[in-house]
Symmetry: C2
Subunit: 350 residues, 2 copies
């Protein structure tokens, strides 16, 4: 344990300062230990004596050592990276923001970095997934807007690559997911409109290919049937339609016979577009018609307090997804790696 025979000359330390990059070697030279030992000590390996463990940690902290991620990655094959696949559609109005907020929180304090892979690259989302798998760009993947037989999910399952989706699928093999109970949302929203005495309700549904289209439709229809209420469902329109298309549709429809006067809007943009379309006809929110909207940011209720909203806490979803993914990467079995969020009545307190 004598650390005097090696003069521990100040070269390494000074050197580390000059090149700005202390490595295990630097610490080894300073402490007079072997590189292996230093590595072990920092990794809190069991066979290292408490004294050296402490000393190594001290020195490491002192010279500001940070492990070289490239080297770790090369050696271990693990990237310590979690990647989020962002779909253009979910980026508007801060979907990405909230989810990523939660993810960042879940990854806080772990060795994992969060990397956003924007989907714009070129082709479909599947290409991006393929690229990430084959290039070993990440240890785990997170994405949303699943389809019942989502090709990304299939690809990941086939390759045994850890992932968590936001949204369910209908594969027989289970996988980790976090989802919002859109059935419950649609049911509650429609119910509220009916209870308010609205004559005829309608809903703007997600694109048909997405899994939650069915959930949403089912919730809406259940509420409608229970109450024996009148309803209609716009065919040429979905949640991804541009705002002007939604606005124009609402405006046009409201001038035709027997228009709906209760709108379930599972998105803030669609709610705003609906308001504008109706007010173009001189119809006023809360007067001639009502809206119950799903709200994922504070924006809508801030601007238009008269819109009734039901919250989806995307930050919580992100945090949950992050935690599930870490477990999944750690090799935990899929069971219990699924979460269904219930709709919330008030804005989540951060």
């Amino acid at each position: 344990m004598s650390r005097i025979e090696k003069p521990a000359d100040s070269d390494p330390a000074r050197n580390a300062l000059r090149t700005g990059k202390p490595t295990l070697k630097t610490i080894a030279e300073i402490t007079g230990l072997a590189i292996t030992t230093v590595s072990r000590a920092l990794g809190n390996a069991p066979q290292i004596s408490e004294t050296t463990r402490r000393r190594v940690h001290e020195v490491a902290a002192e010279i500001g050592y940070l492990p070289d991620r490239a080297a770790q990655r090369l050696k271990t094959g693990r990237t310590n990276v979690v990647s989020v696949l962002l779909d253009p559609h979910e980026e508007i109005l801060g979907f990405g923001t909230s989810i990523m907020h939660g993810l960042a929180r879940a990854l806080q304090g772990t060795a994992y970095h969060l990397i956003v892979t924007p989907n714009f690259l070129d082709g479909s989302n599947v290409d991006a997934v393929n690229y990430i798998i084959r290039n070993g760009m990440a240890d785990g993947l997170i994405f949303s807007r699943t389809e019942p037989f989502d090709p990304r999910v299939r690809l990941l399952l086939e390759n045994g690559f850890p992932f968590v989706t936001h949204g369910r699928t209908e594969f027989s093999i289970p996988h980790a997911f976090v989802d919002y109970d859109n059935f419950a949302f649609a049911y509650a929203a429609t119910r509220r409109l009916i209870v308010k005495g609205r004559r005829k309700v309608t809903i703007i549904l997600p694109p048909r290919r997405l899994t939650f289209y069915q959930h949403m439709l089912h919730g809406f229809m259940t509420a409608v049937r229970e109450a024996g209420a009148a309803y209609e469902i716009p065919e040429a329109l979905d949640l991804d339609s541009p705002a002007d298309m939604i606005r124009d549709y609402v405006r046009r429809r409201s001038a035709e016979p027997d228009p709906p006067d209760g709108f379930a809007c599972p998105g803030e943009v669609s709610a705003l577009a609906t308001i504008t379309g109706m007010s173009d006809r001189g119809l006023s929110l809360g007067g001639e018609y009502d809206i119950v909207a799903k709200q994922t940011s504070r924006l809508l209720s801030q601007i238009q307090p008269k819109v009734e909203t039901i919250y989806e806490d995307l930050t919580a979803a992100g945090e949950a997804m992050g935690r599930l993914l870490l477990k999944r990467i750690g090799g935990e079995p899929i069971e219990d790696l699924t979460i269904l969020q219930s709709p919330q009545l008030s804005f989540p307190t951060p």
Copy 2:
């Protein structure tokens, strides 16, 4: 060039398939060349014969070789990564989206990956910059919302780290930037309101600490003074204020004596909030008051076509920033690495 003596047994290829990861070694074994040669050939080094160069490329393509980024990074010290620092404030309503779209386009076809470092991590943006520099997490950095003496810029300049900002600073040392001519925007917007015959104009300014606060103020004041128009500037409010605060302010102010009837809104959220605040008082856009807004997405004009808008093409800005950064990383001098975008009258065609 005979490639028969080494039986080129199918082991390496099969092996590569099994582990899923062809390396230089795999190609070397298949072609019977040395690893170094393969590396050279793929790098299109001059001293490689055309025949082997071609052959190596063929094989590489065939087995789907992709260089291991971790190894490259470890060896060369270059990460081939460009990082975007996202500030929470710019993420709402797709700022991040548009800029990243442009960035992705600029990086298309290069070896560079785009990585988004969300700022939520914990502390200030400066910490994130520091972390990236010290950890060598990227070869270049992009961020926005600069202050006149932005600490991030100072840090990066001190370390000679390549970066491009969205927004200018007042440092004496020049640096690469892309900025929007906010003076021109504010001037034009105010001018339009005055020309429309508005009695009293106002503007919602950015937070004081940001560089473009001055530009914006200056443009507004220039138009006001030229025309000798009446004006006012809300003190307790800025572009980052929550929408309800802006809405409430507008509503309150419009009930007091001598309220403004021309609003320059350098942001879409502030424009929406203003509309709501005014319509709560029964005042109608284009009638009792007008708005000229800065528009960075298609959302606002889709929902409210009556708002006059002046466009800022953030996608183009992103693309420009990407290109500048690549040049900067390549060691080009700063001169000519600055771009000032002019306001645009119509939505940019993609």
